[in-house]
């Protein structure tokens, strides 16, 4: 049985779901990944070489996990999300001078070329379509600007793939159902089917105006991080 909403319903359904699970979202992510998610974010921020000259956009920032780490490297960090519940969660954390903005990734309220780094954690699969999101990122990034995208992935080796399937398709919905919201934690693992394979993703990024596209896998393929440079 699918936990995925109909295509025309996806944006509104995802917004409602994230508003619903916002209060326990950080704690759930830490539990589900054994705290590895923050290590992957930190590693990606370091690879992007963020310094105080940079203005960083955390796209679909949730409660501000990426923004918090980026803030250690620059004073200019904007956390943007379309679920207000998540932004209230971010505000409740002590994130320093991170600016929070409620907005739609397809229609960013940011000036052309006003950002030098954009990061996004575990959000790609929640967008209705990726090419228009990448096009908006390319618009707001200055030439030479960098992106860092963190996402789930599907391992391609047999035993690891089986373990991954059992964990994300059985354990995560079960534990999520007990500690948070059952339907949300059935949706989240299944939503990985929205992700294109690495060749398709690279093509989408190239078409949007990015170059030097690199992918790195984490936890034996359970997660991936992608970096690219705005041409």
């Amino acid at each position: 049985m699918t936990a995925l909403p109909a295509p025309e319903e996806k944006a509104a359904a995802v917004q409602r779901m994230f508003d619903r699970i916002a209060p326990r979202y950080d704690r759930m992510n830490r539990i589900m990944t054994g705290r590895m998610d923050q290590r992957w974010r930190r590693s990606l921020v370091e690879r992007l070489g963020i310094d105080d000259e940079d203005r960083v956009l955390d796209l679909a920032c949730g409660t501000g996990d990426f923004a918090e780490i980026a803030r250690e490297h620059t004073r200019h960090v904007i956390g943007l999300d379309f679920a207000r519940g998540m932004l209230h969660g971010a505000r409740a954390r002590d994130l320093g001078a991170v600016e929070l903005v409620q907005a739609d990734a397809l229609r960013l309220p940011l000036r052309d070329g006003s950002i030098t780094v954009a990061v996004s954690g575990f959000a790609l699969r929640n967008f209705v379509a990726l090419p228009p999101v990448f096009a908006e990122l390319a618009r707001v990034l200055a030439p030479g600007g960098r992106i860092g995208l963190l996402e789930v992935d599907r391992p391609d080796r047999g035993v690891v793939r089986l373990g991954h399937h059992v964990y994300f398709d059985r354990v995560v919905p079960f534990v999520g159902g007990i500690l948070s919201d059952r339907s949300a934690y059935r949706y989240l693992p299944q939503s990985a089917v929205y992700l294109p394979d690495k060749h398709e993703l690279a093509r989408m990024l190239r078409d949007a105006g990015f170059r030097d596209i690199r992918k790195r896998r984490h936890a034996m393929g359970a997660a991936q991080s992608i970096t690219a440079v705005r041409a």
Binding site: A12, F82, R91, A103, D104, P109
Partner: protein, 61 residues
């Protein structure tokens, strides 16, 4: 939001400049107010220090 965010904030629809009205400020931060796009005749509210820049069709979703 801090006033210097205005340097990069634009209307999500036409990407044009916005006019800021602050009705409550604390420690240099705008807590309540609005951002108006004259070209689109659209107003975006600022509540709890967070501007709501969702396009009108998504605002009540």
């Amino acid at each position: 939001m801090r006033p210097d965010l205005m340097e990069i904030l634009v209307c999500p629809l036409c990407k044009g400049d916005l006019e800021l009205t602050a009705t409550r400020e604390e420690d240099g931060e705008i807590i309540e107010g609005s951002l108006h796009c004259a070209a689109c005749n659209e107003t975006y509210p600022i509540e709890d220090g967070i501007p709501n820049m969702l396009p009108p069709d998504l605002r009540e979703a």
